[in-house]
Amino acid sequence: MREKGRPEAALSMKAAASWSVTPAEPYRFRPGDRVAVRRADVPGHIRTPWYIRGRQGVIERICGTFPNPEELAYNRPGLPAQPLYRVRFRQADVWPDYAGPPADTIEVEIYQHWLEPA
């Protein structure tokens, strides 16, 4: 699953660890892993934008573990906390009619339960 030529992953694991909430689900992915965003059409409060569902990208960095906002939205604790990742996508993979150069990218923060290995 891992790719060569890794993103520069500026955010240290130390920062991510200091921000993390516990107890948390274990990390399933590491920077460089290829992932697919789950396709799901459900009601509720969801922080995975519609446009990115079903798209494939690469884990750019680990952000830490945070209570699940889908549960917090109903005043439930959202624990165990979900690992949160920044995922980098090629714009051309997100928008079939993307007008810019092929090197353009977009990064989105996505909680682990929305990601599958790709």
Binding site: A10, A15, W19, C63, L84, Q91, D104, T105
Partner: protein, 216 residues
């Protein structure tokens, strides 16, 4: 939040009464303005919130401005070790400069030759408000939120920022717990300038990524 000690304001600005001198408080009140007053007065009457806390929250809000972010950017341009810490942990580095970041988890993304970063929040209006103050209206607008992810170069051009095709445009959609600040490129010809002078060049829009920093 820091409590001012032994210091009393007798104008409880955010308190139970409405200041008539503010233009927005004059004339007939709209439905949602009445709702705001009602909710606030109910919470104060019940003892749920302290009007002084509300006043202090507004005062703290008024203290924040893009000047704080500009100071951070100028320091990063002048001090490579600080810049490394800023890119490593934006929150901790800003706090080094005495900026109260509250719960903000700040990620700083660096522009460099061949890479330009742009920040948006498509789902709502996430913004590093503890650092930069409240966002501009356009950042929260339907047009910016809709288009910045799909046609970033067209949006940038509307702000006068036209980038060559060999510059990667990297959009950051703030969807969750991180907040983002663009570290712009230091402008050419600014080599002799000091930190204060440099900070004066750094604009809010450049720290959102819709523009670049130019030497005046």
């Amino acid at each position: 939040m820091t409590q001012p000690s032994g210091h009393h304001h007798d104008h409880g600005a955010a308190g139970a009464h409405v200041h008539p001198t503010r233009p927005d408080d004059e004339g007939p009140l709209g439905y949602y303005q009445r709702m705001e007053i009602a909710v606030r007065e109910l919470l104060i009457e019940k003892g749920t919130i302290d009007p002084d806390d509300l006043r202090r929250t507004i005062e703290a809000m008024d203290q924040r401005s893009p000047a704080q972010g500009a100071r951070v950017v100028a320091r990063a341009w002048c001090d490579p070790a600080f810049k490394a810490r800023l890119l490593d942990n934006g929150t901790a580095a800003c706090e080094e400069l005495g900026i109260a970041m509250g719960p903000t988890k700040l990620v700083v993304v660096e522009n460099r030759p061949g890479l330009h970063n742009l920040i948006v929040c498509t789902l709502c209006s996430c913004y590093p408000r503890n650092l930069l103050g409240l966002p501009p209206d356009w950042y929260k607008s339907r047009n910016y939120r809709s288009r910045a992810v799909r046609e970033p170069r067209a949006v940038l051009a509307e702000f006068g920022t036209v980038l060559a095709d060999d510059v990667e445009v990297r959009v950051h959609d703030s969807t969750a717990d991180m907040r983002y600040l663009v570290l712009p490129e230091r402008p050419a010809g600014s080599e002799g300038m000091g930190e204060t002078e440099l900070a004066a060049l750094v604009t809010r829009d450049a720290m959102i990524g819709v523009t670049t920093v130019r030497r005046n």
